[in-house]
């Protein structure tokens, strides 16, 4: 069998990711001070999710992995988290509606 040599990522890509993350961090902090109404939270979480995604894809190597299970596990765990959050919050948001 062929040796499964891992994908060696260019150092410049890592630096690029790092730069994006740093910029995004300061961006979140800055955007929070701009009045966007209810969208402040949305924007903050959107940026956080983008940051998390590139960390997962590049730094954690999910983009390059041969491992077929990584993605299902990740998606599964996030899905499970959403089950917990959405179904519990559904109770809270409909509690006084009746």
């Amino acid at each position: 069998m062929a040796d499964h040599s891992e994908h060696v990522v260019r150092a410049s890509l890592y630096w690029l990711v790092w730069a994006i993350l740093i910029v995004a961090t300061f961006l979140t902090a800055w955007v929070a001070t701009v009045d966007l109404g209810a969208f402040n939270t949305v924007v903050a979480l959107f940026i956080a999710t983008c940051k998390a995604s590139i960390v997962v894809l590049i730094f954690m190597g999910v983009k390059y992995t041969h491992e077929k299970m990584t993605r299902p596990i990740l998606v599964g765990a996030v899905f499970w988290l959403l089950i917990l959050l959405i179904l519990s919050l559904a109770d809270y948001s409909s509690r006084y509606a009746g």
Partner: protein, 544 residues
């Protein structure tokens, strides 16, 4: 007639090494399974002792044997020990641990040292729990409902909470080990569609352990912090919401029921085909129903909270979802029954347990529908009806499965046969004792007797007397196997490698197996359960 020739003693996992160290530092999954067997048996008897106290107290309507506080502690510790220290680890940590590597043709689990670590974590938690018990115990009910547990109880809630937090990690690590082992360690040729259903079920169980357990762990930590540091997250007096605790608690504790029952279903899926000499009916459906139970089990938790003050709409949604989980459970029952159709059924001990399991699990599952039905649940919630229901699932289901599995694989584990006649007798005694104990509780529950009552109105007495009588029979049923299995270790017939002529890979190695399970890594070229290609077992199972 025992035909197994007495050969010169082969090297096996039991006699490979001697001495305490060789056990306490072992990384052999089979030895770790036996360590678990010893420790969970200990806890089973401690938990059983509390059950005995409860049943004796309830013999009369007045609270006369125990004080109210002692009674409250007795049912709390009965529940916590049985759930967290017996049922959850029982089949996975003993039979799963012992068998999964062998069933998939591996030398060991993927992480043997983590496997040993998880046993030590279990022991640490067990010691802490026993410390809690010895210094006065805990009285919150196994559910730890706030604000009673966080602000009002004067008992050792912190120790109990931490013990259960710790034992959770044992469960997580076991699940982790199983999942990775199933993915990575299968023998050549052993595809997913050839996996024994035992492995499928344990895979599903492991998913629940991995994704559910951390939630209860953190929830109990928050309760402990609330008691020690006054955090107030679940305390209404400080702005918190006690119902939030219930959401987080049941998010794990409902799926935890499936942690207890899925492994038992795993055992059934091995025993029934073997003693019917047939392929399992609808392999794919049985396998997939395990995964479905694990997944759907996570979206039904608030059916424990229909009268707890959740919103009307939330209750409607959760009720509807709760019925869904009955479908894969029903699929399993139907498929097992269909497996016996046109088979060649023998009444060996494991098969008796299996038939008992199907019957009791059917009753347990169907009464679950009563609890999922909103209007009915309002009446029977927190009554003995619920107690009867979950004992039918957890004792009638999980414990029957555990005992059936112990008998089925006893020759493999110990290298000895158990006495068949005694085995059948014990199975029948357990079945009768169980029904006598718990069936009356359905009626007394519908009459309205609330759970966790130390004294009760006299009109409920007759059912409680029946229940206590049944419990004493059940106790005999549990002690019998204890005695004759121990007896067989010394006096039992030497077991052949495959006494049942079963198809699993674990039967293709020696009994007891060598340290690394197989002398040569097997290559699998057959489907699971090809009983048409197996000869009938020797007289061992046919003897009278």
């Amino acid at each position: 007639m025992a035909t197994a020739a007495v050969t010169t003693e082969r090297k096996n996992y039991l006699n490979a090494e001697y001495g305490i160290r060789s056990w306490l530092l072992t990384t052999d999954h089979k030895r770790i399974a036996l360590l678990y067997l010893l420790s969970i048996t200990l806890f089973f008897f401690i938990g059983g002792f509390f059950a005995l106290l409860i049943r004796l107290e309830l013999l009369t309507p007045a609270g006369d044997l125990l004080t109210a506080d002692m009674y409250n502690k007795a049912f709390t510790m009965h529940g916590q020990i049985m759930v967290f220290f017996f049922l959850i680890p029982s089949i996975p940590a003993v039979l799963g641990n012992f068998l999964i590597p062998m069933m998939i043709g591996a030398k060991d689990l993927a992480f043997p040292r983590i496997n040993l670590l998880s046993w030590y974590i279990y022991v640490a938690a067990g010691v802490l729990y026993i410390y809690c018990l010895a210094t006065g115990g805990v009285d919150t009910g196994w559910t730890f409902y706030t604000p009673y547990s966080s602000m009002f109880s004067n008992t050792h809630v912190v120790e109990a909470g931490l013990a259960i937090f710790i034992v959770g990690f044992s469960s997580i690590l076991t699940g982790l080990n199983f999942v990775v082992t199933v993915h990575r360690m299968r023998a050549p040729g052993l595809t997913w569609s050839r996996l024994p259903l035992f492995v499928w079920s344990h895979y599903a169980t492991s998913i629940i352990m991995l994704l559910g357990t951390p939630v209860i762990a953190i929830t109990l930590v928050l309760v402990v912090l609330e008691r020690t540091l006054n955090l107030g997250i679940f305390d209404p007096a400080r702005g918190g919401d006690p119902v939030l605790f219930q959401h987080l608690f049941w998010f794990y504790s409902h799926p935890a029921v499936y942690i207890m029952i899925l492994p038992s279903m795993a055992v059934m899926s091995e025993i029934i085909p073997c003693f019917s000499r047939k392929r399992v009916f609808g392999y794919t459906f049985v396998a997939m129903s395990s995964i479905a139970i694990a997944a759907i089990g996570f979206i039904v938790w608030a059916h424990h909270m229909f009268v707890a003050g959740i919103s009307l709409y939330s209750a409607l949604v959760f009720s509807c979802l709760s019925f869904l989980v009955a479908v894969p459970s029903a699929i399993k029952v139907f498929n097992w029954t269909a497996t016996m159709y046109k088979g060649s059924v023998s009444f060996s001990t494991p098969m008796l347990y299996a038939m008992g399991f199907i019957g009791l699990f059917t009753i347990g599952g169907l009464t679950g529908l009563f609890l999922a039905t909103l209007g009915v649940d309002v009446h029977v919630h927190d009554t003995y009806f619920v107690i009867a229901h979950f004992h039918y699932v957890m004792v009638g289901g999980a414990v029957m499965g555990y005992l059936g599995g112990m008998h089925f694989w006893w020759p493999k584990i110990s290298g000895r046969m158990y006495p068949e006649g005694w085995g059948r007798l014990a199975a029948v005694v357990v079945f009768i004792g169980f029904n006598l104990t718990f069936f009356p509780q359905f009626i007394v529950g519908y009459l309205g007797m609330p759970r966790r009552y130390w004294q009760y109105p006299p009109e409920y007495q007759v059912y409680n007397v029946l229940s206590t009588a049944g419990a004493s029979i059940l106790a005999v049923g549990y002690l019998l196997p204890m005695v004759y299995l121990l007896w067989s270790l010394r006096y039992g017939k030497i077991a052949p490698d495959n006494p049942w002529q079963a198809t699993g890979l674990e039967w293709r190695t020696a009994s007891p197996p060598p340290t690394f399970n197989f002398d040569e890594t097997p290559e699998v070229t057959w489907e699971a359960y090809e009983y048409d290609k197996m000869p009938l077992p020797e007289e061992v199972t046919l003897e009278r």
